[in-house]
């Protein structure tokens, strides 16, 4: 998963899944479509990504296609570097 993936996973577990077994959250767990991240959580995630990785995320990149699992989010972050 790499450091980027680890950081993202740690943020999601801390903010949105307190008390969850870390192994339950994988690179491919569908976050938005399975109700783990709702619309407000998605906004908070985007804010976190922008601050943590010093990138700018465009409005059209805040959708299911780009953010539905950790693998996709890592790709998005990497694409900005």
């Amino acid at each position: 998963m790499g450091q980027i993936g680890e950081d993202i996973k740690e943020f999601i577990l801390r903010e949105f899944l307190p008390g969850e077994n870390p192994h339950a959250l994988t690179d491919s767990t569908p976050l938005i479509t399975e109700g783990i991240l709702d619309s407000l959580a998605t906004l908070k995630l985007v804010s976190f990504l922008e601050e943590r990785f010093g990138i700018e995320i465009r409005a059209h990149e805040t959708d299911v296609e780009h953010l539905n699992d950790i693998a996709s989010i890592v790709n998005l972050v990497r694409s900005k570097e």
Partner: protein
């Protein structure tokens, strides 16, 4: 204009006086003028009548927000039916329950939803007859195509718009039910028109106004958006559900579409203030900001007012059962000492309100009690639920029926109502009405769950969030991710608990019921 007593006459009247004026906009996609919208709705009327819709029937509307949806709604009204809008993004099983509960005669539905709906309704022992199937929605084009297709197969004669009575039902809106099943609030033409006419008096809209349509059509905020706009020959700008949650896009839209009257929950406005980068654009047309549905945390309200100064801000209050029944206009400048949320204000002129104790008696001046409402804006009751209806009303000595809102209020020094609590376990989250019992019922359906208790947590920063405590039957329990996923298949998204805590057993009171008080303290 105030003599109009049926919602669909509002459209026909505006079509006569302002035929070329733009009635509805799908931003960056399509527009439709009043004349074309009226004609399209007449065609829907004719098709529905031909499909067997009689005055008094219910017609389901299972469409994403679009010009097609607006025309379908007016077509149903013109056929003398009540429209029953369902949330296209809710679990199909829930929508099936709603449509079966009120025995819709037929549904206007997008093909992509139809198959699943039929399966779910069949499982409930029902069926959908003769649905009007649209391949998609957008611009009214797909509705027109569907109507043309049907017309070629089976021509429907031109009919007349039904002459209905003002007390006839215009729509049924389903809200969260504490026992797990949603309940249908019946609303008549008179209920809606009395509210719409009050809006005309209070806000003085005109044909140059451009109304946002942020709320989905199954929420009663849409009644102001659609019918006040159309009554005045103004323009309604549709904001789809997905876009509606994207603050960056919303800020741009409000500016580009020259919205003059905005109406939404405080949550969306908070998001706009925090994440919308409002300073990027100008909003010279924006003159009124309405908000309703929940408390507006002062922190975000101040931020919004700083970014959008000089506009009129209104706090509108009222459950679905009454639509808006009290209102409060914010002062131009929020005083620095203001530390509590603003009041819900005073009664609208088309209804009357009073405050009662548990026995239904008026409380002494200055004391708190339950807010009750009577008058033209108030529902006749819940569809096919006489006991629930009876429980929700009080009859006074003169035989007038008062709806019990369940909100406990006090009166401030200026005579404004202030909400101090609830009588029951209903909460508002992001403006959505949630019965905590409905969430618990859904979780009890999970085979591993033994006991559940859902509580609401509130803070200024995050608003209301739901935490579900549960105990399981076995030692191995489902992951939080599994539980969230399970909930999202059985409940609308906004009802999925934010947090889960799994315990060996839940605390009990001395009478062996779940101890909610303790849970609230440890949460």
């Amino acid at each position: 204009m105030s003599n109009v007593t049926r919602l669909h006459y509002l459209l026909d009247n505006s079509a006569r006086s302002l035929p070329e004026h733009v009635a509805v906009v799908e931003p960056k996609r399509a527009t439709i003028n009043y004349s074309d919208l009226a004609i399209l709705s007449d065609c829907v009327r004719d098709r529905l009548v031909h499909l067997g819709v009689h005055p008094g029937d219910r017609v389901g509307i299972y469409l994403r927000k679009s010009i097609d949806a607006v025309a379908a709604i007016f077509g149903a009204l013109k056929a003398g039916a009540a429209y029953v809008p369902v949330d296209p993004f809710a679990p199909p099983a829930r929508n099936a329950y709603v449509l079966k509960d009120c025995s819709v005669r037929t549904v206007v539905i997008e093909r992509c939803f139809a198959e699943r709906l039929q399966i779910e309704i069949n499982q409930l022992g029902g069926t959908i007859q003769n649905p009007l199937l649209l391949d998609d929605v957008g611009g009214g084009r797909f509705l027109r195509e569907a109507l043309t297709r049907e017309q070629e197969k089976n021509p429907a004669p031109v009919t007349q718009t039904t002459l209905s009575s003002p007390d006839d039902l215009a729509y049924i809106l389903y809200t969260s039910g504490s026992t797990g099943k949603p309940k249908g609030v019946m609303l008549s033409h008179n209920n809606a028109m009395s509210f719409v006419n009050w809006c005309s008096e209070a806000f003085e809209p005109n044909q140059h106004d451009r109304f946002s349509s942020h709320a989905p059509f199954h929420f009663d905020l849409s009644i102001l958006d659609i019918y006040v706009s159309i009554k005045h020959g103004a323009t309604l700008v549709l904001i789809g559900e997905e876009l509606g949650k994207e603050p960056l896009h919303l800020a741009s839209l409000i500016s580009q579409e020259q919205i003059s009257i905005w109406y939404s929950t405080p949550s969306i406005l908070s998001l706009l203030a925090q994440y919308g980068k409002l300073e990027q654009y100008r909003y010279p047309c924006l003159r009124i900001i309405h908000f309703a549905g929940e408390v507006f945390p002062l922190k975000h309200l101040r931020a919004l007012k700083a970014l959008l100064p000089g506009r009129r801000y209104f706090n509108l209050y009222g459950p679905t059962e009454t639509n808006v029944c009290t209102y409060f206009e914010l002062p131009a400048v929020i005083p620095d000492e203001q530390s509590k949320p603003f009041p819900i204000g005073k009664s609208c002129s088309h209804v009357e309100t009073k405050v009662v104790n548990e026995d239904g008696q008026l409380v002494p001046e200055g004391e708190k009690g339950e807010l009750c409402v009577t008058g033209a804006g108030v529902t006749q009751g819940y569809w096919n639920s006489p006991e629930r209806t009876a429980r929700s009303f009080l009859e006074d000595a003169s035989g007038r029926r008062w709806y019990r809102t369940g909100d406990i209020v006090a009166v401030d020094n200026d005579g404004n109502y202030v909400i101090v609590g609830r009588r029951d376990r209903m909460v508002k989250k992001r403006g959505y009405r949630i019965e905590l019992g409905e969430i618990e019922t859904a979780l009890y359906r999970h085979p591993a769950v033994k006991e559940v208790a859902a509580i609401a947590l509130a803070d200024e920063e995050n608003g209301v969030r739901i935490k579900a405590f549960l105990s399981c039957r076995e030692d191995t329990h489902p992951s939080i991710i599994e539980l969230k996923s399970f909930c999202s298949q059985n409940l609308p998204r906004y009802m999925v608990p934010d947090f889960f805590a799994i315990r060996e057993a839940l605390p009990k009171t001395s009478t062996d019921k779940i101890d909610y008080q303790t849970l609230k303290e440890i949460a």
